[in-house]
Subunit: 305 residues, 2 copies
């Protein structure tokens, strides 16, 4: 790969990185939905730093190769991205913003290619599986597994083979100069992913773009807590939120590695009275054995297709 | 594929199916962990019916091609298998038993192959990603994505190529006559999956093996419920369980497609007093807009590696 990092400006073209640009790590190849989410949250003046795994994307911050991390936390079809939550808890990063993107899989080929002329289609097996109906109606197409959705398009365009196509999002088509041969071929139209922007907790004052975003007075908070495995333990921790009229948007329990009778909970809460949230967090913490605020931020606006 | 279905007896060899054998559908290829889970729960006298996707595995029951379904619901590293929960809710199936299996990825090659002689290793990208340390210490090995872990071993053995290997569980090595070249190459040792046995609710009386399993008096129940999006709604639904001293083992919220302000919750609860459970379920139901018991069954014994 020639470029490990690339700078995007608002025309979508590339320019050499400058000192003031924010370096944002993400899991995947250039053209991934995570990269699109970073651009949608931070607009121009960012350098995106692709990494093969979530673990190495988090390491990019510790190693000084990135200033921030853009990671998916939840998909409407596949559920929570558990590994990201685990790595977030182990890190010194906090959530400062979120965005929700529709996930649309397109069939992308080389310029001059046609659907009728295709012989094989490659993508990550998850994307291949989400386009089952397309493959049922095109039994002549060979399915070729790949390690990455955007990477499958990059590889097809690199070979120039007009009989091959990849499945990925529109950003991958734009990035690699591919042509969309068939739009939105996924089985389920309601495919959305929620992404968060993660920043080291001690660096939020350095760049205003990396500080918590508060648009309006609706505040969302993401929390992690641990509770003893006994009846009523969760109730005691949730009661303060109900008492202060704070909505629970998400709750998820996770077993704790090596502690079979202790549980970890991840919660998202939301309120239009941030003062009450502070009091509720204080009271909830007293009912837990471990309590961590993963971030306070403005909720994403409803997703637009 | 020569055999769409196979019968296992307790020696692990195959025999022609008999009329009394239970046909169990699962997602994946022969040699998958789901098939091993079916054998561990039902022992001899089952016919396993492999299907490419969860959707088609569920359809196998509706189409009369299977009597039961064995499905993963939760992995310690990857979280809940959201699609299985969604399909379960839409189906007329109920959980009658559960089991927990350790997920160990082995490097599997042809007889005569050696680790030193390998050039490429194929598997599902999820398995490749879970063996990152192995690949870092063997940079000479080419990673080849495949659609299925067990299927990668089947394909390697079918070609007889001693320079190629797959990554899958021990059942795949046994099934296809492969040799384990390196054991437990996954990065994280604490990789467990919880599987459930699903049976049509109206057929439980036909075969005692397909009825609810109660070993001892500890009862677990899996529930789905919907709540209005307002502070305190979840508390009201959980209070009856705390009041009756019933433990909450798992809770997970899911947005409901097309209803942005309503939430679905999946819960597992457990008690040694089944009479109290009945009363608690009755009271919890009154606090919800939708309530469904997905199954009552004995909890799995602690997993053994």
């Amino acid at each position: 790969m020639l470029l490990a990092v690339n700078r995007y400006n608002n025309e979508g073209s590339m320019a050499p990185p400058t000192q003031s640009a924010i370096r944002v790590a993400f899991q995947g190849e250039h053209g991934a939905f995570s990269e699109a989410a970073a651009i949608s949250l931070l607009a121009r003046n960012i350098i995106t730093v692709p990494r093969a795994t979530f673990d190495s994307a988090f390491r990019a911050i510790a190693e000084g190769a990135a200033d921030a991390l853009l990671a998916p936390v939840e998909n409407s079809l596949a559920g929570s991205v558990v590994r990201v939550y685990d790595l977030l808890l182990e890190s010194n990063l906090g959530i400062v913003a979120e965005t929700i993107l529709p996930i649309e899989h397109h069939l992308i080929g080389c310029p001059g290619a046609t659907l009728a002329g295709l012989k094989s289609v490659s993508s990550h097996p998850m994307a291949l599986a989400q386009c089952e109906r397309f493959f049922l109606s095109h039994p002549e197409l060979k399915r070729v597994p790949a390690e990455d959705t955007a990477g499958s398009v990059r590889d097809v365009l690199a070979t120039g083979d007009r009989s091959a196509a990849g499945i990925a999002g529109r950003p991958a088509a734009i990035r690699y100069g591919g042509v969309i041969l068939s739009e939105s071929i996924q089985d389920n139209a309601e495919n959305f992913t929620r992404f968060v922007l993660l920043v080291p907790k001690d660096s939020t004052s350095q760049n205003p773009l990396l500080g918590p975003r508060m648009d309006g007075n609706i505040m969302k908070a993401s929390l992690a807590m641990r509770l003893a495995h006994q009846p009523g333990a969760l109730l005691a921790a949730l009661q303060p939120f109900a008492d202060h009229g704070i909505n629970l948007l998400k709750i998820e329990s996770r077993p704790i590695h090596g502690r079979p009778w202790e549980y970890q909970f991840f919660l998202d809460v939301q309120t239009d009275a941030p003062g009450k949230l502070h009091e509720a967090l204080h009271q909830a913490k007293a009912a837990t054995s471990f309590f961590q605020v993963l971030g306070r931020y403005s909720p994403a606006r409803p997703a637009q297709s």
